[in-house]
């Protein structure tokens, strides 16, 4: 038997597609680098001004090599073990960063991913939500506007890696889809769905509202913002109070002066206060009532201190609650209120734990499935070459689909993976048809394979058209499935199957 090394253009096309797909999957910007990538830097933090850049790779700290997230956190823990200020040298691929503080830099780091493939939130962990307006339907413009505002809110809150987009379903309902990769903030519900209509009133008069024209800025760090005291209550629970400064615009401050001017002064053992307190309302609910010091009567002051509290069963719990309550209030005051009351119709918070194992399981599953199939094919045809050709073609099909996914940055979620498995199934079906047509004794081989292709094209179009409605159904939840299947069967019909026909042709000729 002579080994025929002359390959047809269709086989070359398959080989070239495979190489391109592998490049697209593995040629990451961090190829051959060790370390951790900076994926986010907290706005206005010390880290943001000292030269850290998103996308830079940290490969050493004070000369100690950083290979992964574990190294990174262990080294930093040791460096900042005492509360004193430290000078730390971070070696990155974009030069050294000298950092000086008593706390670790407020940056989010990720391990370097060996591939360009991205997994969906249902595998990598994170939170997603689908929001609509309560008791009314949104137009697509309104949905876009709200999406923009929510995105702004989440950014101000300090979340990285978020995706907020308007989305519509088959029935024409408009939703806002929110996807947050990584850790889920505790009060996500409130952050995304709370309308956030803030009002400060004296009696029934509005002094200022949580909007741009009234509030010029909100203090979020330093002396003007933070927790005050924590106390244990009689029932054993803890209450922690916080306060932060809000700077009013001149108009709002003048309005406040006019309103306080008319109030009388009450003398109390704790000091002198105005007769009516400043009441704070959030979405129509009174959240706090502040006594106004008597010396502020009729005075134009632009700084107001907002107070609030958090409760918890333990002190740590109460501190956490107060901190997040404060952060949320600050965020709402900074970003203003949403034009509608919103309703969360779907919400998922997925732990990253499961996804890590899943990738391995899915690889094993695919390998076992392909192996099982090739054994059946070997039993049926008693030929090793055919079985190998089937394995080879199926594996290249998977690689090419993944390559395309990596190229366009598609997030591979569970439905996408189900789609890939479905594609491999139909792919193998077509390969069996090709082998059988090639082996049948009638006609010449070209005609037989042409007939095989007619059948395969028929199957292709039926599969294709049956997936189309799915692309829009249920707010795009199964977009991934439709997408990978359509890509997969198209790759099959254009690249892998023609090449497989030629491979079988060669095998049969030998």
């Amino acid at each position: 038997m002579k080994l025929n090394l002359k390959l047809t253009w269709k086989i070359w096309l398959l080989i070239i597609s495979l190489i391109l797909a592998l490049l697209s999957i593995f040629a990451t910007p961090y190829l051959f680098q060790n370390g951790v990538v900076i994926s986010g830097i907290t706005q206005n933090s010390t880290a943001s001004v000292q030269g850290f850049k998103v996308g830079a790779v940290i490969n050493s700290i004070n000369g100690n090599p950083v290979k992964n997230i574990d190294d990174y956190s262990t080294i930093l823990q040791n460096v900042f073990i005492s509360n004193s200020s430290q000078k730390v040298t971070f070696g990155t691929n974009q030069g050294q960063v000298i950092y000086y503080s008593n706390l670790p830099p407020e940056i989010i780091v990720k391990s370097i991913s060996p591939t360009n493939l991205k997994t969906g939130l249902d595998l990598s962990g994170g939170a997603s939500a689908l929001v609509k307006a309560e008791n009314q339907s949104l137009t697509s413009d309104q949905a876009s506007e709200i999406a923009q505002m929510i995105s702004n809110r989440l950014n101000v809150y300090g979340l990285e890696d978020i995706k907020v987009s308007p989305i519509s379903d088959l029935s024409g309902n408009n939703y806002i889809s929110i996807q947050i990769a990584g850790a889920t903030p505790q009060d996500l519900d409130n952050l995304i769905s709370q309308q956030g209509k803030f009002e400060a009133r004296i009696g029934d008069q509005i002094v200022f509202q949580g909007e741009k024209q009234d509030i010029s800025s909100v203090a979020t760090s330093g002396q003007q913002s933070g927790l005050q005291t924590c106390n244990q209550q009689t029932d054993g629970s803890y209450t922690c109070t916080f306060n932060f400064a809000v700077y009013l615009s001149q108009t709002a401050a003048t309005r406040a002066a006019q309103l306080t001017q008319n109030l009388t002064i009450n003398h109390t053992p704790n000091g002198d206060y105005l007769s009516t307190p400043l009441d704070l309302y959030l979405d129509g609910q009174k959240i706090d009532s502040l006594q106004i010091s008597a010396d502020l009567k009729g005075v134009v002051t632009t700084q107001v201190s907002i107070q609030g509290y958090g409760i918890g069963t333990t002190q740590t719990n109460a501190v956490d609650n107060a901190t997040s309550e404060m952060k949320r209030l600050q965020t709402i005051l900074q970003t203003g209120s949403l034009p509608f009351k919103l309703d969360i119709v779907q919400e998922n918070t997925i732990s990253p734990l499961l996804g890590q194992n899943f990738t391995n399981t899915i690889l094993i599953a695919a390998a076992v499935a392909i192996l099982a199939v090739s054994i059946v094919i070997f039993i049926r045809y008693r030929k090793l070459k055919e079985s190998l050709a089937v394995i080879l073609t199926s594996v290249s099909e998977i690689i090419i689909i993944l390559g395309i996914a990596a190229l366009i940055g598609w997030n591979l979620d569970l439905p996408s993976i189900a789609g890939i498995l479905a594609t491999i199934g139909t792919g193998i079906d077509s390969q069996i048809i090709i082998i059988d047509e090639a082996r049948s004794k009638i006609l010449n081989i070209k005609q037989r394979l042409k007939r095989a292709f007619a059948i395969i094209l028929g199957s292709y179009f039926t599969a294709f058209v049956s997936l189309i409605p799915l692309y829009w159904a249920v707010a795009g939840f199964f977009k991934g499935f439709a997408f990978t299947t359509i890509i997969g069967i198209t790759v099959g019909i254009l690249i892998t199957r023609p090449a497989f026909v030629d491979i079988i042709n060669k095998i049969e000729k030998d």
Partner: protein, 350 residues
């Protein structure tokens, strides 16, 4: 060898003589399935049992190795109502990895109840929450049904284009197939309920056209339909609660089942040599390999992934059942109809 040949020739004789009986048997099976669905519908006011992704509710996954599911179910039924609990296990060690609790309550209500029961707080490090509101769930259910119906209509048109004749009929079928999606997605002129009725009606009209003008297309579409119907009956008998992904599995089933039917029809109608029986048998050898490999692949995936994701496990279970029915419906239902059709055509010719 002699024995085998004898058996085959006897088998052929019997097949030639009695294949029409098999058509009647299939008709009976389909009627039985319809009856079973009707009874199911009367009892449950729906065609399937729905899970929380379609009804609304919360699915909580709690990671850990030492949960007593039965005990938990007993304890939590008081506070959470009617709940489903099952555990996810490592496929190789069979060690429990997590439990999945499904309840019709929303996440905000469920979380504190579970936390006080377990005695620790649930964070994104030890648990996952997935909740859907009931309005969204029922809306999705209807949309998925419309998607399946439209997909089925589209599939039918492609099949008719492969095997049927007549420019005007093809035009009419395309018009019928795109009527409901056009009114529904493009113009948004009809409500989802009406879209459902409309797509069902157009589907029935197209079925009639296939039967009237091209029996082979009708046979393909009928056997795909029978696959779905029979699988549905079994799923309902098993008491499986379908998720939105489960409905997608039926969509996948359309694609898989039509493959072998197209192969069979193509071989019988377009081949120029050999008897009808010979062609059917040739197609059978190819087709059964296709279906068996598909079932094996699906079972392998099911075995590995069921330990991991209930959603994926459901998809693969439905596919496996559907593929088994596909063997019957392709090689009995479809084959007998096409044999009857081809024999009749030959009689007319000669």
């Amino acid at each position: 060898m002699e024995e085998k040949k004898k058996f085959i020739s006897r088998f052929r004789e019997a097949y030639d003589k009695h294949y029409k009986l098999l058509i009647i048997l299939t008709a009976l099976l389909i009627i039985l399935s319809f009856a079973s669905m009707a009874i199911f519908y009367v009892h449950n006011h729906d065609f399937i049992y729905k899970d929380i992704s379609l009804l609304g509710g919360t699915s909580v996954t709690v990671y850990g190795t030492n949960f007593n599911i039965n005990q938990m179910k007993q304890d939590l039924t008081k506070s959470l109502g009617d709940i489903d609990i099952n555990s996810l296990k490592d496929v190789f060690t069979q060690q429990q990895k997590a439990i999945v609790i499904q309840t019709s309550l929303d996440a905000k209500t469920v979380k504190p109840i579970l936390e006080s029961y377990l005695g620790y707080s649930l964070t994104d490090q030890n648990s996952s929450f997935e909740s859907t509101s009931s309005s969204l769930g029922s809306g999705f259910y209807q949309q998925l049904l419309v998607a399946v119906l439209i997909a089925f209509s589209f599939m039918g048109v492609v099949v008719y284009f492969l095997f049927g004749k007549g420019k005007w009929i093809k035009m009419l079928l395309i018009l019928l197939a795109i009527l409901s999606p056009f009114l529904f997605f493009v113009l948004r002129a009809v409500s989802i309920d009406f879209a459902l009725i409309l797509s069902l009606a157009t589907l029935l009209v197209s079925l009639f056209i296939y039967w009237k003008f091209n029996v082979p297309s009708f046979a393909v579409v009928l056997s795909a339909f029978a696959d779905i119907l029979m699988t549905l009956v079994v799923i309902d008998l098993m008491g499986m609660k379908l998720s939105s992904a489960g409905i997608i599995a039926f969509l996948m089933l359309i694609g898989y089942s039509v493959d072998t039917d197209i192969l069979l029809t193509n071989r019988v109608l377009k081949a120029t040599t050999g008897s009808v029986n010979h062609r059917i048998f040739g197609a059978f050898k190819t087709g059964i390999t296709m279906t068996i490999t598909a079932i094996l692949a699906v079972l392998a995936a099911l075995f590995l992934i069921s330990s991991f994701s209930n959603t994926m496990a459901q998809i693969f279970t439905i596919l496996a059942i559907g593929l088994c029915f596909d063997i019957y419906n392709t090689w009995i239902t479809n084959a007998c109809i096409i044999k009857w059709y081809a024999t009749k055509k030959n009689e007319i010719k000669s």
